[in-house]
Point group: C2
Chain length 460, copies 2
């Protein structure tokens, strides 16, 4: 053991040095940005079941193959396949013949409209809880327009998202129960612009015949619709979309690992999700998390660090509309009786890293906090207890520590699930700093584990 | 005094509430983004002495006039007027007739080339210190190409800038002493792209006849030039630019203030610089700082706070190529025997605020640190001692506390002094968060001052 018999000061000094080397390697000779360039610009949006998703599997496996890891493999998983079809079309009809087109997109999982579209009156609500107050008499035969905006005063924009997303996820299911013929949902976006933002939705237990089409409308379109409705509640809304759900298809999680030199049976997972929505190229959500996770293994090799535990990168398939990859990975891990110590996900965009959230015990958190000062020179300052990432969530019953990278969240919802989520919206340095922060945390977990309260490496 | 007799806990609670109100006002009904839209898109780049700079004076004064401040005025200052002329043109000539155009721009203050341009051999150096080693024999008659890049491993990109900018500022002066006929400087940019970045330069004590033209070359152009030189040191470089220096012209600092209710003679200044370079529209440098500074006064009024001291916004003219506005302001303040307590500048881009740097005594800094916890909910975490801003620097001999807003610096040099510094590169939320952070700090300084060590307002 390298540090046995050496004081804590020296161990910390070695860690200071290691983090500096990790950051230098990421910023000077990292691969994350080039990988993302390929994923985004040569492949593009990677919706589960699409050709692009399969290209991304092939590409990332090939790139992991050349890193000289101990093992790289594909883990089969059946995924849903939903396709958008031809571009959606919608307009507000103030009077017969007087129309304003508005930008819309089908929500992921939505049914199509009839081929000729639907045209109906609109009732605006601020959330699903308004439906019961209005009752069937005021909803039946209409399009329900969910228009509760994200709260701009929340500093963490994910909280603002959480406060709205039920409209998108459950809006159609709930409105259908009151006889609505369709729903239009204000995009989950803090900017006022022309880009509709898609995302997953559910019909719950509704029969196929009861399902109604659901679309997102751009924030600017939502404001126009709301204003128009105030002037004249009798206006009509036209929506046409021909998305559909196809049978499940075979896909894969892409996995690579460096075997641990001392505790190979203890697994540390770092990952993101390889699938994305189809409107943009999925650079922030979650191409960034994928290439950062691949970079963790690359950087550990670059700086010549030999992990004590097994460090595994997992590029999960189908986070966006099914979470099948995350569930499959946890299922197989359980079957194989693998011991997972730690899982870290990056799925909040490739922005400047501000910190990490940890889903763990207080004792484990106390241990983690002893590392916080090492991140100060890199302005990674926020170590909090909280959620981690959707894909690693299914591992939770293994009793491991889960963590999520916390990048700056201010711009995330400008791009999230929209055509604006493209490579040029990613800053190379911000992406690389995130990869370095993740690598640093993985290094510390690998070296010290969570159990001993000593700063020296534990032997367990 | 509102808080007299109330415990510290209550005072802090009132501050917590005040900061929340300030942030809410900025994010929900702030004016900064609309102001910047006008400055950037209706006016554009505002080089000292230009029509646009004068339009910016008129516009910002008009906007301050409608805020209902106690006084708004223009402070006359004579400024230099340098004009770029027709677009610059440059190419690398590998062999006669075989040329590659490269993007260049004249450095601010440079002389023109002869009308037909200059064509000469090139000698690449890593800095001015290389010149003496090479000597006149290897430099005379050539174009000196300064190609030391910014260091990507520095987390604070301003440090990387400081490590390079002497090439731009002094490169021509030094090279001229060795008989060079021109200089080409690698743009101060961490990205590899096609945008040349201008910026100020000086000829020092050189006579007019000794001055040689100086241009910046894009980072991609610099890499091409360097590679080409390695293949064949005999290649030639062609440069044509017809910029020139005109006589000084009249301009103005734009100033507005809310008079203090208790200590009107104590002045707190908040500001940015109204001039910008001409290639982009100066949105980050420093339209952002101007509108954030105006917003400080607007937000204090919005939340109904009556300042104890005089809060003054100053939009300084001519930071980029002369600092005449900053010097004039300090000169007049001294003449009028004004007492300045605190000056805060925002001139590092409209990005997510990470903290503040303070140029102050340790005792003052200790006092400031007692406020730090109030900023934690807003992720403003970096309170350090350090530099403030160029425009407020001349006030320093008044013995006041100087401070600079520290936004996230990762993207700043993608835009700085280049055509890419445009409105669309600014995030509305990031800009607004910066304005709120500045307003919060100004509020705390106004309420508590720096002298008493108690958390209660001091009476002085």
């Amino acid at each position: 053991m390298i540090f046995a018999g050496i004081g804590i000061g020296s161990a910390q000094q070695a860690d200071v040095q290691m983090l500096r080397e990790i950051y230098t390697a990421s910023l000077k000779e990292g691969k994350s940005y080039d990988w993302l360039n390929h994923l985004s610009n040569q492949i593009g949006g990677r919706l589960s079941g699409s050709v692009q998703a399969e290209q991304a599997v092939t590409y990332t496996k090939k790139e992991l193959d050349v890193l000289g890891l101990d093992r790289v493999w594909l883990q089969p998983v059946m995924v849903p396949k939903w396709v958008r079809g031809t571009p959606e079309f919608a307009y507000i009809e103030s009077e017969p013949g007087e129309t304003n087109n508005v930008p819309v997109c089908a929500l992921g999982g939505s049914v199509a409209t009839p081929a000729g579209g639907i045209k109906a009156s609109v009732i605006e609500v601020q959330g699903v809880e308004d439906l019961a107050k209005l009752g069937k008499s005021q909803i039946e035969g209409k399009i329900v327009f969910y228009n509760r905006p994200m709260d701009p005063t929340l500093i963490n924009t994910f909280e603002a998202y959480s406060g709205c997303v039920d409209q998108r996820y459950s809006g159609a299911e709930e409105a259908a129960k009151f006889g609505a013929v369709g729903v239009v949902v204000r995009s989950m976006n803090l900017s006022i612009d022309d880009h509709p933002h898609t995302g997953s939705m559910s019909y719950g237990e509704l029969e196929l015949t009861e399902r109604i089409p659901a679309a997102a409308i751009s924030t600017k379109g939502a404001d126009l619709l709301s204003t128009t409705l105030k002037l004249n509640p009798e206006i009509k809304f036209f929506l046409r979309q021909n998305c559909r759900q196809l049978p499940d298809v075979q896909s894969y999680n892409v996995i690579g690992e460096i075997r641990g030199s001392e505790f190979p049976e203890e697994v540390i997972v770092v990952g993101g999700h390889l699938d994305s929505w189809d409107l943009g190229d999925g650079s922030h959500d979650d191409g960034a998390g994928c290439v950062q996770s691949m970079e963790v293994l690359n950087l550990l090799k670059k700086v010549g660090y030999q992990p004590r535990r097994t460090i595994r990168v997992v590029l999960f398939m189908n986070e966006e509309n099914g979470l099948r990859g995350g569930r499959k990975y946890a299922e197989i891990a359980k079957e194989k009786n693998e011991k997972h110590l730690f899982a870290l996900e990056s799925d909040a965009g490739g922005f400047t890293p501000r910190g990490f959230s940890f889903d763990c015990t207080q004792e484990e958190f106390n241990r983690i906090l002893t590392w916080k000062n090492l991140f100060e020179p890199y302005l990674v300052h926020q170590f909090i207890r909280g959620g981690s990432g959707a894909d690693i969530g299914p591992l939770k019953d293994q009793g491991l520590v889960l963590s999520g990278l916390r990048p700056d969240s201010q711009r995330y919802f400008d791009y999230h699930h929209a055509e604006t989520d493209t490579f040029k919206a990613v800053s190379k340095r911000e992406l690389e700093l995130g990869a370095a922060a993740m690598t640093s945390l993985v290094y510390l977990v690998d070296r010290y584990g969570f159990i001993s309260s000593s700063a020296l490496p534990d032997r367990q």
